[in-house]
């Protein structure tokens, strides 16, 4: 009697094999997932480590520190304090402010152009375009994302800059508007693709309900479909913003690269990523300039991280409010 009881408790060989296989598969998938996370964390750690001398090394500390990077400095006695990025000079000046202003100006122009264009194109494609046209439109706009940014930068440098200067009469040929519009060419497909997917995923029943109440297609698209897809459209905008802040080659070629702290969009600008790309090749390894460039990398990292986190929290709130559990 006791023997049969033990017999029953012991797993059969096939059951045992199945359990081992399941455990092995789970372990592999977990490992792969962790590798992805580890890569992100390690990149951040190594970039941050190179920036650390700003705070720890007395050598680097002589050239710069947080206050000198973020506050206006009076470089000559008796002159008003100002922000200056002049890393290669007798007295190296590492103010982040002109770079921030430049990045924000270019990004603002890019988003101002690409959010309306991208979302409107997505709305048109999902709600109004006949099926044949939609099948052409979507891959065509997505193809824009496949153009290498150096080609777009070249186009901006040679063609776009001339056209815009002739139209608006900018004093500097390469400026925030030129770079921002060129940047928009890469941001539009990102916003378009993700928004279009979100809009298409809105259930047909919402559209039918709206139309059955006597709404026109426009009213249905703007007052029902777009709000219902808001979380996805917002995610698209955030992705586009991240793309726009991090894009290097286009702004390097089309922005003029003058680190100026002005609020005119017609002035040349220098952005954070373009600064890294332009200067990393000629810095002294381990010197102050080197550490500051890595510090810029950390800033870019933090920007996108904070932005994504805020956006994710906001999207969650919107979704919860829609679902009625808030």
């Amino acid at each position: 009697m006791a023997g049969t009881g033990e017999e029953a408790a012991r797993p059969s060989p096939s059951m045992r094999r199945r359990q081992v296989r399941e455990a092995a598969i789970q372990a592999v998938i977990t490992l792969v997932a962790l590798t992805g996370i580890a890569a992100v964390v390690l990149i951040f750690v190594f970039v941050a480590r190179e920036a650390l001398p700003i705070f720890t090394s007395p050598e680097v500390g002589k050239e710069t520190d947080l206050a000198r990077m973020f506050l206006p400095q009076a470089w000559r006695a008796g002159r008003p304090a100002f922000f200056s990025w002049q890393p290669v000079s007798d007295v190296p000046k590492y103010s982040m402010v002109p770079l921030f202003v430049g990045t924000l100006k270019v990004t603002a122009v890019a988003m101002l152009v690409s959010v309306p264009v991208g979302v409107a194109a997505a709305l048109f494609t999902s709600e109004f375009a006949p099926r044949r046209l939609r099948e052409v439109l979507k891959p065509t706009i997505e193809l824009l994302a496949g153009i290498p940014s150096v080609v777009l930068g070249f186009f901006a440098l040679i063609v776009l800059a001339t056209v815009l200067q002739d139209t608006f009469g900018f004093t500097s040929r390469l400026n925030a508007v030129v770079a921002g519009i060129a940047l928009a060419l890469t941001v539009v497909p990102v916003i378009f693709t993700v928004s279009e997917d979100a809009l298409t995923a809105v259930p047909r029943s919402y559209r039918e309900a709206s139309l059955a109440l006597g709404a026109t297609r426009w009213e249905t698209a703007f007052k029902v479909v777009l709000p219902a897809a808001a979380p996805g459209v917002l995610a698209a905008v955030v992705l586009g913003f991240g793309r726009s802040i991090g894009e290097t080659m286009i702004v390097l070629m089309a922005s003029g690269n003058a680190a100026m702290t002005t609020f005119s969009f017609g002035d040349s600008v220098r952005t954070l990523p373009a600064t890294i790309a332009a200067e990393m090749g000629e810095v002294v390894f381990g010197g102050a300039h080197y550490a500051v460039l890595f510090f810029i990398g950390v800033e870019l990292f933090l920007f996108t991280f904070v932005l994504n986190t805020l956006a994710a929290a906001f999207v969650k709130r919107v979704v919860r409010r829609m679902a009625g559990t808030a």
Partner: protein
């Protein structure tokens, strides 16, 4: 027998004449001539795929949204063709409202759901909106359950409440005809009973057409019943007659449960 007024005694609110609806080459509804008497309930019954839902959706031109569909014959509202110049699909749908099989509230607040049709109709006065919304929710027998949570999302309501909200939303724009496509098929018996009670109350003011798979429901709520089979209208008559003494053998087989 005499408690139910004969449909013929009442004026026609909507009428189809030799209506045929095609999806591509396939005719889903063939040669249907049917009258919806004013302020009465017409039940459309028949097995799945018999064309009753397609017929219903033709009455407010919802089929226009389906690529490849076409209609011929006549559909009249108050004696005038719904395809004539005095009406477009938008105007028609304001007069002929619809409630769908699956409740489909917008992911907005309860208030905004009912307000939607009014707002697109150009009403923006906050006080009048409030009054119209309360009236609609009362008509849909939902007011007492939601009056303290109008600002909450409609998605948090139960299935039966959501369906009554959809009815309230349709009533808010004050249509003349209400089309209901199996409005209770996804609901439990208690919620179904509430919808049926509601239909009884609504027919005082609205002309109603309801598609249903449920024979008892058709018998309970309707004044007139139309039996569809394979896209054709087999028989139409006072509900009591259809369920007790149908003239056609196929009708009898269907209502007694021999097929379907």
């Amino acid at each position: 027998m005499t408690s139910i007024p004969h449909p013929a005694a009442s004026a026609a609110k909507m009428e189809t004449r030799r209506l045929e609806i095609r999806y591509g080459a396939k005719a889903a509804v063939k040669d249907v001539s049917l009258t919806l008497p004013d302020r009465q309930v017409t039940a459309l019954i028949g097995p799945s795929g018999c064309g009753k839902s397609t017929f219903l959706r033709a009455l407010n031109r919802m089929n226009d949204l389906i690529p490849g569909s076409s209609a011929s014959g006549e559909i009249l509202l108050d004696g005038r063709s719904i395809y004539a110049g005095h009406l477009d699909a938008v105007e028609l749908r304001r007069r002929v409202g619809m409630v769908f099989q699956k409740s489909n509230p917008f992911p907005k607040s309860i208030f905004e759901n009912v307000a939607y049709g009014l707002r697109i109709g150009g009403l923006s006065d906050r006080r009048e909106l409030g009054e119209r919304i309360e009236r609609s929710l009362r008509s849909a027998a939902l007011w007492d359950e939601v009056k303290d949570r109008l600002a909450e999302s409609a998605m948090g309501l139960s299935g039966g409440q959501q369906q009554r909200l959809c009815i309230a939303r349709a009533l808010a724009v004050e249509p003349e005809v209400l089309l209901m496509d199996e409005p209770a098929s996804a609901l439990d018996p208690i919620a179904t009973a509430k919808i049926e009670d509601l239909i009884h109350e609504l027919k005082v003011r609205y002309t109603i057409a309801i598609v249903t798979h449920n024979m008892q429901q058709a018998a309970r709520v309707s004044d007139q019943t139309a039996f569809f089979y394979m896209g054709e209208l087999v028989e139409v008559g006072p509900t009591e007659q259809i369920f007790t003494t149908p003239r056609q053998q196929r009708t009898e087989d269907y209502v007694t449960g021999k097929f379907g």
